[in-house]
């Protein structure tokens, strides 16, 4: 195609300007697609974290707060659930199963979860998928630990290794439970959820390491050895939260209300599906703002393209008159400019996609480690194709004005030389 070939060569001749245009388009494409993909993947990833749990019970604070710290290990609980309340919940006639959760410690930045063996049976994610072990077995003894896939991979632990837990949830802790080390007895398969980032120990083990502590610090002068602790009663006084499964989903409102209005303790029961939805509703404003900004950036890039095409027109008036004299039809002049804008858009889009892939690969480690997010960037979704199609349409639209100018000029410029 003559016109396309001329467009290509013409752009190559002005490759400095063309490169700038392509880069700005590429950046805007990378931003827009990246934001979109992150948004949808994050939502799906979060939504796939928990399945099959009817209620989560914790101390009365805010529902989203409870969801975040009990399921996503983000944020910290303010208060606890007493063991007495836990037992009462477990005995409720409409409750089929319960799994207690105890949080607060960490292993080199990864959260530690104290729970029972029931956790491994009842925790579901995605489409009703269960947890499964890659190596080893579920904890049995007091100082047994089961690692999530990412913990094992990142810290390089395997079966039989000894680990020392730290108090508090920050990456660096000055207070370690080094008198009571744990042993890795199992490593879980990768799930793509925060389970991968968690160290799982028994409730007894969690109690054991705090038995000689009070208020977040070891009691001076009192030190109970690992051997002595085995013979003590290690039922905790309180836990952080409880996952609850009911005999029938329909009972959820009634049970929830009973827990919420409990007279003995300030408790709160949330429905995970609903609370997650409320979390998304909250985030939607921010998401839309981000999307709007990305769209504006793309508009800016298209404006850059328009500017480049328009300012080039004056210098190219001679070229257009020449082409006309050689027999080019006016529509071919028009198509030449449109061809250039389309070519720039396509190159920009391709570069943008490549840029995004590179960024994603670079950030994937951080995303899965810190947020438990797995983001895949290929192949492009239908939604993303639509965005690219809009970009191409925008590129053509942008080319219309300079193309029209060139077309008009080509008609009126006769044989006269214009500089």
């Amino acid at each position: 195609m003559t016109v396309l070939s001329l467009a290509r060569r013409s752009l190559w001749n002005r490759r400095g300007t063309a490169a700038l245009v392509v880069c700005s388009v590429a950046l805007s494409v990378a931003l827009l697609l990246g934001v979109e993909r992150l948004r949808t993947e994050a939502r799906e990833s979060f939504a796939n974290t928990l399945s099959g749990v009817d209620l989560i019970v914790g101390a009365r604070s805010g529902p989203i707060n409870l969801l975040l710290y009990s399921v996503f290990r983000l944020g910290d609980p303010i208060n606890n659930v007493s063991w007495a309340s836990y037992e009462r919940i477990a005995e409720h006639p409409q409750v089929a199963w319960t799994v207690p959760l105890s949080l607060g410690d960490s292993l080199r930045g990864f959260p530690v979860l104290g729970t029972t063996q029931a956790y491994f049976t009842h925790y579901r994610y995605g489409r009703d998928q269960s947890l499964s072990l890659a190596h080893g077995e579920i904890f049995d003894g007091i100082f047994d630990a089961v690692l999530g896939a990412e913990v094992a991979r990142r810290l390089g632990y395997d079966l039989g290794d000894e680990i020392v837990l730290a108090h508090g949830t920050s990456a660096v802790s000055l207070t370690q439970h080094d008198d009571k080390p744990f042993r890795v007895v199992g490593v879980l398969e990768r799930t793509g959820t925060p389970v991968d980032n968690t160290v799982h120990i028994s409730l007894a083990g969690m109690e054991a390491i705090h038995v000689d502590w009070r208020g977040g610090a070891p009691i001076p002068g009192l030190s109970i050895s690992a051997e002595r602790v085995q013979s003590m009663d290690l039922t905790p006084d309180s836990i952080t939260a409880v996952m609850v499964g009911l005999t029938s989903r329909r009972a959820v409102f009634q049970v929830q209300r009973q827990i919420n209005t409990d007279r003995d303790e300030a408790l709160m029961a949330i429905m995970p599906g609903l609370t997650l939805q409320q979390l998304w509703d909250l985030m939607r404003v921010g998401e839309n703002a981000l999307l709007a900004v990305s769209a504006l950036v793309m508009l800016v890039a298209l404006t850059v393209m328009l500017t480049a095409l328009l300012t080039g027109l004056n210098e190219r008036r001679r070229e257009m008159a020449l082409l006309r004299a050689l027999g080019a039809r006016p529509w071919q002049i028009f198509a030449l400019i449109i061809g250039e804008s389309l070519l720039l858009s396509i190159l920009g889009a391709l570069l943008g996609v490549v840029l995004l892939q590179g960024l994603a690969l670079g950030a994937s480690g951080w995303l899965s480690g810190q947020l438990g997010l797995t983001v895949t960037l290929w192949p492009p979704t239908l939604h993303e194709m639509k965005i690219l199609a809009i970009l191409f349409a925008g590129g053509i639209l942008v080319g219309l004005w300079p193309a029209w100018r060139a077309y008009r000029n080509a008609l009126t410029d006769g044989m006269a030389i214009r500089m």
């Binding site: 939504a47 989903r249 009972a251 409102f253 929830q256 209300r257 609903l274 997650l276 939805q277």
Partner: protein
Amino acid sequence: MIRSLFRSLAAAALLSLALPSAAEITLEWDDMIPEGWPPPELFEGINIDELQDDDPEAIEFFAKIEQLWDEAPVVESLDGKRVRLPGYAIPLEGDSRSVTSFLLVPYFGACIHVPPPPRNQTVLVNMAEGKTARIRHAFFTVWVTGTMSVETSETDLALTGYTITADKVVPYEPEYGD
């Protein structure tokens, strides 16, 4: 005689166009409560408007209500019927784009002052195989179309209730001039 025949035929034709597919029954929430429930004696002597939340009489009243709500009977004749029901959706499983099961209730919110809906005013909706619903936000209003099944259990009250296996969930647009 011919004229009146024509008229009734025309009316029937128009009616069938106005209604959704003839095989579905459009339910109203009252349809799911059997006749005579709740027993009117419950409300004798109680003036709801004047009750304060902390009033011991109110607490006792609400406790009675909750117990009654738990034992709410169901309309068994609805079992197996193809129905269409509007309500507020509370997602249970899946993410907002593809919800696989949700609860459908006739009123909004779960605040402390209002007891949750009774058993016969709560419908568990499971999407049919391969289908998902789009619940745009919490308590999103939808029309649910599907097959109703009514479960009853003598031994465990918790198992009694309505379930719809839905194949179509669309946003709710009010229909006027019924």
